[in-house]
Amino acid sequence: MEYSTMFLKVQLPWNVIIAAENLKPGSLMLQRAILIRLLSDFAAKKATKDMGYFLAVTTLDKIGEGKVRQHTGDVLFPVVFNAVTFKIFKGEVLEGVVHKVLKHGVFMRIGPIENAYLSSSKMPGYVYVLGENPYFMNQKMPKIAKDVKVRVVVIGTKWMEAEREFQALVGLEGDYLGPISSPDM
């Protein structure tokens, strides 16, 4: 098991490029332009295979000296900033919400991950119940239906390069896993 968990605070060096026409005199305007560009690039980047999902920039620690780019006249500023990122790891126990119930399993949302798949083969003791609002039923445990919170273990993750997102495979094999009924706050 990789020893880590969902939300991480990281410090990252990036290059922010400011177009020539946005380079107004006065350092305050420039700092603002750099921050806005950084926030925009950060949001657009969405996620990478190594770092996971990019959630939010928390602090801008350093802005280095700008370097003029020969052909365009843009200026490149190396910056260092802190951010919160999200990535899940094989073997980790965590909680999510069911958003789709199918015959062979359910799809859950875990953080920004939209499709964490819990296969029926990984739901020991559960059977599929057909209907307008299908669900999975178990003699000894609460049912697994849309909007139910479930505690699962991560079996594997997959980075989808084209969509820039992760998919995950999760399961209920293990003690203390399954639907949880903590009050929604």
Binding site: M6, F7, L8, K9, Y53, F54, T58, V93, R109, P112
Partner: protein
């Protein structure tokens, strides 16, 4: 610590332990993202108040899966867990899942037993009791 970090720390009533942290609990992330969201909403500059889908989904998630809401309680959870020689990720999983028994805690984070530290059942039980006390008085 940079000036801005200090400012954030003061605003969010964040303790020293949190500033050193690399792994964050859901309740900590909830405070950070909610604060960020308010800041962005108040900004009159359109370029500043765009939030990404990743941000929105994550905010929704941590709000729903935070066991502690009060900033003081959140700070206390980390401070208390920090006393027990846990690895960062162990601290976060325990703070997120709030196991009720020693057995459950070990099932959630098996490494707390196998790392060869002084983590006997008694110590784990005390830690869980301390956590539940924070919850009671939140």
């Amino acid at each position: 610590m940079s000036g801005e970090e200090e400012e954030n720390a003061a605003e969010l009533k964040i303790g020293d332990e949190f500033l050193k942290a690399k792994c964050l609990m859901n309740c900590e992330v909830s405070l950070i993202l909610e604060h960020k969201y308010e800041q962005l909403q108040q900004s009159s500059d359109d370029a500043m108040n765009q939030v990404s889908q990743v941000f929105e989904k994550s905010l929704q998630y941590v709000k729903r899966f935070s066991r502690y809401k009060n900033p003081d309680a959140v700070r206390q959870v980390r401070e208390i867990l920090a006393r027990y020689q846990l690895a960062e990720f162990e601290l976060c999983v325990l703070g997120n899942l709030c196991p009720e028994t020693v057995e459950e805690a070990i099932a959630m984070v098996p490494s707390i037993k196998t790392r060869g530290r002084a983590q006997d059942d008694e110590a784990i039980e005390k830690m869980l009791n301390d956590l539940s006390l924070i919850k009671k008085f939140e």
